[in-house]
Symmetry: C2
Subunit: 557 residues, 2 copies
């Protein structure tokens, strides 16, 4: 039985879901849906990994073994050493593997990739511990985002890939009536992969942000090299190891997917990206290196970026001000503002916020907002569960420097909080500033981490104007609107759509503007400066291959 036959039903279901965009999650997000002893087994495997060489990869000829991951929870090095390979060897190996992989039918490729996700599923808890202790995410987020949600997005990419690859028939007879006779040609079409693909990972979501690019390049017949962030290697290393096993078992070389660990001292990303045989680059990370990579498009490479934006919320009018404050506080607190979708700038008018009970003044709003933030950071269980840990010291330093620079604007200082399980965790609660709109230096840039700024403007019109102007320059990945006037909402949403910013309107309760669900939400529009690509639109697949037609005189075949 081919892999395709084995997974056909699941693939077809995913294609259908991707078309409908209603709720669909092939990989359950609840850890309880998985075997009871899975967590314990994974934890012991994780512990066995520490201070050892990582030897699960089916890759030969490492130059040496090195690693520099630090657990944000333990603030000690993990001691895991990964094989380091010569960049030229990686590309050479990938080029050879490409010529094998491209000849596998796309149906079978889809089956094999679905099998990879099944195998990944068996390691969801391993990935969770690995993600927690590299990114600083809480265990629950590390499990959900690192495992099932990442696999959902990979499955979504398989579905979208199948849609694209099936758009053109494999062959047809072209028969043109010429009056007394017909001209007949046999025609075939092939979706040819562009070449070796490089995926550059980030330190906060090492699987969720990496797998879409990996699966998009693979389903379209390219071979892939993953260059993980040196501070977050283990989660994706586990996935690659499992994928390599599947490729091996399928009788295809495991070289189709390779891991290329590096170190801060000897980075490999630019070397790999610049290699002439690397034709596709996926990148999640800071704007400046992202822009540098986008420059490679000039040489015909396809570059897919998710850089950074400054995510705004406009608060005009609400039905339940407390529910709104709770929702916003959670959005800002979740993983300590280290999600690329986290809100940073909260725009309110000097006149306050309209509610059914009358206007809520800015001061009253500030009180409710800070109370809601304190409810999270002051709660012994919620604080570690929601705020989790800071991935880097840089986040901590940034909080301190912003608090110092704008000390007179601080409404709520950032504090530490207790984490019973991990007393040494690198933690901080959100710093909240309040400034007048004229003080642009306090909010006209990204403050990555748990930093929120409430900006008082003369009116909601002015709030919108500033949001539009800033989003045009910095980009935005998410945007919240709170407004009870449907016409007003439609107009604001339309103006933001014109600059390719997606909005979430009047969210309260347990749904947050930071969350982007596979099979439904596009993650990053690709149209504003926050990034040039989107999980997962048709472009995300189509840019990775080229349709090549071939025509044969009927007599010649």
């Amino acid at each position: 039985m081919s892999y395709y036959e084995q997974y056909r039903e699941r693939i077809d279901r995913a294609i259908q879901a991707n078309r409908e965009r209603t709720y669909y999650a092939p990989f359950p997000e609840n850890p309880k849906s998985y075997p009871e002893n899975a967590a314990a087994l994974a934890l012991s495997r994780f512990q066995a990994c520490l201070n050892n060489d990582f030897t699960e990869l089916l890759q030969e000829k490492p130059l040496r073994f090195e690693g520099e991951e630090i657990s944000p929870y333990l603030q000690t090095g993990l001691g895991i050493r990964y094989p380091i390979f010569a960049d030229k060897l990686l590309v050479q190996t990938a080029s050879k593997a490409l010529d094998i992989w491209r000849k596998v039918s796309f149906n079978e490729r889809a089956g094999i990739l679905a099998a990879c996700l099944d195998r990944m599923k068996e390691r969801f808890f391993d990935i969770a511990y690995a993600t927690q202790h590299t990114t600083g995410q809480s265990f629950m987020m590390a499990f959900q985002a690192g495992g099932p949600h990442a696999a959902d997005r990979a499955m979504e990419v398989i579905a979208m890939g199948m849609e694209e690859l099936r758009r053109v028939p494999e062959s047809c007879v072209w028969d043109k009536p010429m009056g007394k006779f017909n001209i007949t040609l046999q025609k075939t079409w092939k979706a040819m992969p562009r070449g070796v693909a490089l995926v550059i990972g980030c330190s906060t979501f090492p699987t969720w942000n990496t797998l879409p690019g990996v699966f998009a390049s693979l389903i379209t017949g390219n071979s892939v090299i993953i260059k993980p962030h040196p501070k977050a290697v283990l989660p994706i290393a586990i996935v690659v190891a499992e994928m390599q096993k599947v490729f091996n078992e399928a009788g295809i070389t495991p070289d189709v997917i390779q891991l290329a660990p590096d170190t801060l001292a000897f980075p490999l990303a630019w070397e790999l990206a610049g290699h002439p045989d690397v034709r596709i680059i996926d990148y999640t990370g800071n704007t400046s290196f992202g822009n540098q990579l986008e420059g490679l498009q000039q040489t015909g490479k396809q570059v897919f970026t998710e850089k950074a934006g400054v995510n705004p919320v406009i608060i005009d009018s609400v039905t339940d001000i407390k529910a709104v404050c709770d929702n916003l506080a959670f959005s800002l607190s979740l993983y300590a503002g280290q999600m690329c979708t986290a809100p940073q700038n909260f725009f309110v008018s000097h006149q306050g916020i309209r509610t059914p009970e009358g206007m809520v003044s800015v001061d009253d709003f500030m009180e409710l907002f800070t109370a809601a933030l304190n409810n999270i950071s002051g709660h012994p269980k919620m604080a570690p569960g929601v705020l989790a840990a800071l991935q880097q010291d840089a986040q901590k330093d940034r909080i301190a420097s912003v608090a110092a620079e704008f000390s007179d604007a601080v409404v709520l200082p950032s504090n530490s909080f207790a984490n019973e399980e991990f007393p040494d965790a690198r933690v901080a609660s959100p710093l909240l500033l309040k400034v007048d709109a004229s003080r642009t230096e306090a909010y006209d840039r990204e403050w990555f981490g748990p930093i929120g700024v409430v900006i008082c403007t003369p009116s909601t019109d002015e709030s919108l104007r500033r949001v539009l102007e800033m989003s045009r320059r910095h980009g935005a990945i998410s945007c919240g609107i709170y407004c009870t006037d449907p016409d007003r909402v439609a107009d604001m949403a339309d103006q933001l759509a014109r600059i390719f910013v997606p909005v979430s309107v009047n969210l309260t309760g347990p749904i947050y503007l930071n969350q982007h669900a596979a099979f439904s939400d596009f993650h990053v529009t690709g149209g504003n400066p926050a990034g040039n690509a989107s999980f997962t639109d048709a472009l995300y697949l189509n840019r990775r291959f080229v349709w090549v037609g071939q025509r044969f005189a009927s007599s010649s075949l």
Copy 2:
């Protein structure tokens, strides 16, 4: 009745055809399919145009009227003066029109664009005379390529656009089960146009190469400015005038599509392309300006190019050598090699060409090839009908300089021939060179116009190697293979597909490698240096808009 309802059946038929890729041509290519007096009426309208201001456009505030078209058949100026507009005004007007056009549903946009093609159809003969007397094409090619074939490709773009725009639902309810309750969101998606689109035309196919980009940008909601080549304005000016009338009648501003004529002395292309509001650029023309425009992608603009390639033919073995020579001679002669798909380099092995009757030596092949070329250029009717006229003096100069530089390699000199209807036509029959493969300076570049080079190599393997190597550097839009061994053909086609070069195999009779049919053949793959875009793949549409999702708490709508 909406435009969509009126044209729905035709649009649906086009969508179906575009999926199947079998023969389909909504606009008959035979002039006899059109009203009997259409040609005569069009000719008198054409004559009335000469030495006059072109006043059909619904565009205000021209700075002045100028024109510099020269008929390749009369070698005198047409004297038609077109309105010249300020580039800033053009973009400003387009920006305003965009905000009207984008709000028209894509169904209705498709209907209006189909109506534009219907109106264009009434001017096919006008376009034919205009095309003939600007490009130098024969009347028959000017009619077919300038009218019905161009309209076919525009209709194909409408079809592909509808496929893309319908891929994501307009709205849905997203309902996530959370155990005891569900989270429900209303979601909507909009395909937002990227902005003002600029289409830069060429001098040889002023409608065929221009309309795909125009219709692709329009169906996806963008407004369009066409900057025609100053030597070939009239054909596209007629189309724009008709489209503006349709937009006007539909109650939409004619500003959605504008013509931006310029002159060689005061070119507008770079000015328009650089304007920050211009987000999409389509270009057909020389490689150096094409590369310059592609550089604008760094600023987030979407740039679609068709530049130039060097099109090769590999002749290894044939069943009927005479039929092959006739076919190749026609391909090289058609419109005097001025098609971007015309073959230039003919690779044969020193050993000759295998046939059922034994090996045909290179000398015998040369004799048959030159005889076939002479059959065309020496035939009083075929010569003007097939070879037509040279668009520019530059083509004539190039023939002379190549013949002088490689005088010892000339097998067949370029000659003049009589054109009874137009005694002053700028004409030339093909120049044919024969060189050893080592003499790369004779063929390792594009010789635009009627220049062919037969290249003798040690073997077909070596021919292929050179073709692959040259196509990688220069690109190729078409490629011919003659080989009677199916395994060999498959291998060669595969190696060429890997570098994104499409092949036509063993063509004889009245079908030529230069011809690319709408609804079936991709024109330019977009994967090799000949151009970065393809008529018409999904990318050609998807790069022109951005999906923007919006999410609403259920209570808020």
